[in-house]
């Protein structure tokens, strides 16, 4: 594999998602800070938005944080082949594979990844912006928008609460990419006074405690807190 570079600040939820994945898969990478506020040097190949791209020496650049974990899958397990796992490295946080084993598991992961993108992400990212970023950027918060999205997120989390009653993680018994994709937004929300949306729901809280205590995620949170270089 070529040298992996990630452009962007760890504080960005999109970047954090990618970092979590790279750390879970123990892929070496270089984090290259981009000063979003100043809109300074654009990394190469940012043809469109300021969303951070990801550059792998072999693949050229891949632009979307949501598709990057699948890129890592491809690099290690060619698309379409059922992976043959050697489980010699199962630890307390046994990473049997973020991507599941076989079609049934894979289908479930895909489904909950889409649920994150379509149902969880929209209201939660509005809340992240309003509650975590707007104050830092000295922008006025909109209470009506906050209330509306709290309501939406609450409904989604009710569905999650039911799901997590019958299942340890979203896609099944193991931690997968579907759980990981929730970490960045959930992390910010639990750091605000709306954190109760997650912590007051028994199963959601249990799930949140478990996924957020993974060493790889703790490392990302550390990176988010580190002063910009």
């Amino acid at each position: 594999m070529g040298s992996v570079k990630v452009y962007g600040p760890p504080a960005s939820t999109a970047v954090a998602r990618v970092l979590a994945c790279l750390l879970e898969k123990e892929v070496e990478f270089q984090l290259i800070p981009v000063n979003m506020a100043k809109g300074s040097t654009k990394p190469p190949n940012t043809s469109r938005s300021r969303k951070p791209p990801f550059v792998d020496g072999n693949l050229g650049s891949v632009g979307r944080s949501e598709s990057i974990p699948w890129v890592l899958l491809l690099l290690q397990q060619p698309f379409g082949q059922v992976p043959a796992f050697q489980d010699e490295s199962i630890t307390l946080f046994g990473n049997k594979g973020l991507f599941g084993n076989g079609l049934l598991e894979r289908a479930s992961i895909e489904q909950w990844l889409e649920a994150e993108a379509q149902s969880f992400n929209p209201p939660s990212s509005v809340l992240v912006f309003q509650l975590a970023f707007a104050p830092r950027m000295r922008l006025k918060q909109d209470p009506a928008v906050i209330e509306q999205n709290e309501g939406k997120l609450a409904k989604v989390l009710d569905v999650y609460e039911n799901r997590l009653e019958e299942s340890r993680f979203l896609a099944g018994d193991d931690f997968t990419l579907a759980d990981l994709s929730h970490l960045p937004n959930a992390q910010y929300i639990t750091g605000t006074d709306r954190g109760h949306l997650l912590t007051s729901r028994k199963n959601v809280n249990r799930w949140w405690e478990e996924i957020s205590s993974r060493p790889s995620w703790k490392k990302v949170v550390e990176m988010q807190k580190a002063p910009p270089s």
Binding site: F79, L103, A115
Partner: protein, 217 residues
Amino acid sequence: MGVLKLHGHPYSGATLRVLSVLHEKGLEFEFVPIDLATGEHKKEHFLSLNPFGQIPAFEDGEIRMFESRAITQYLAHAYADRGTELLFKETKKMAEMSVWAEVEAQKFDPPASKVAFELIFKPMIGGGAADEATVAEQQAALSKVLDVYEARLAGSSYLSGDSFGLADAHHQPLVHYLLGTTAKAAFDSRPYVSRWAADILSRPAWVNALAQQSNAP
């Protein structure tokens, strides 16, 4: 695998998305109509298929799924050796397509579905006239996305790459609906986008997917 069942409504974009891929793969399936008008999708028996109470839901033997883009990916993967190849075997090409599949979901779908809702579905369900401000705002957002598409398609036959793939298929329902509205102008004014739109909507599998609407009661 078992019997394939798709639960949905033939006018629903998400349902059409799955129908298209089922036809691309030449798969036999049972279509189970869900009566949205009576709120069937929010009732217990459907919630057991999709706890979010949205169509479509899908079954393949013991595999049960919701979220159209997860279903299409499952079909493309599980039935890779049937019908149209919707994935790429080379890692680099697959990475490229996965980007544009995400772009569809994250960038294209939000403004496109809002425009389609205001101009087509809202009147259809008796929700009143289109909200002009929303339409203008979302059409502007959509135009920005289509500018990026125009640049992409100037250098690539399809969004997915040099052949039709899953990322293109995911666009079919909303492109189809938008071309029937004033939003058509945004497509017509961009030559590469216009050519691509016509191309993806002329596929026999898409025509067959739409035919499900003629079967509707």
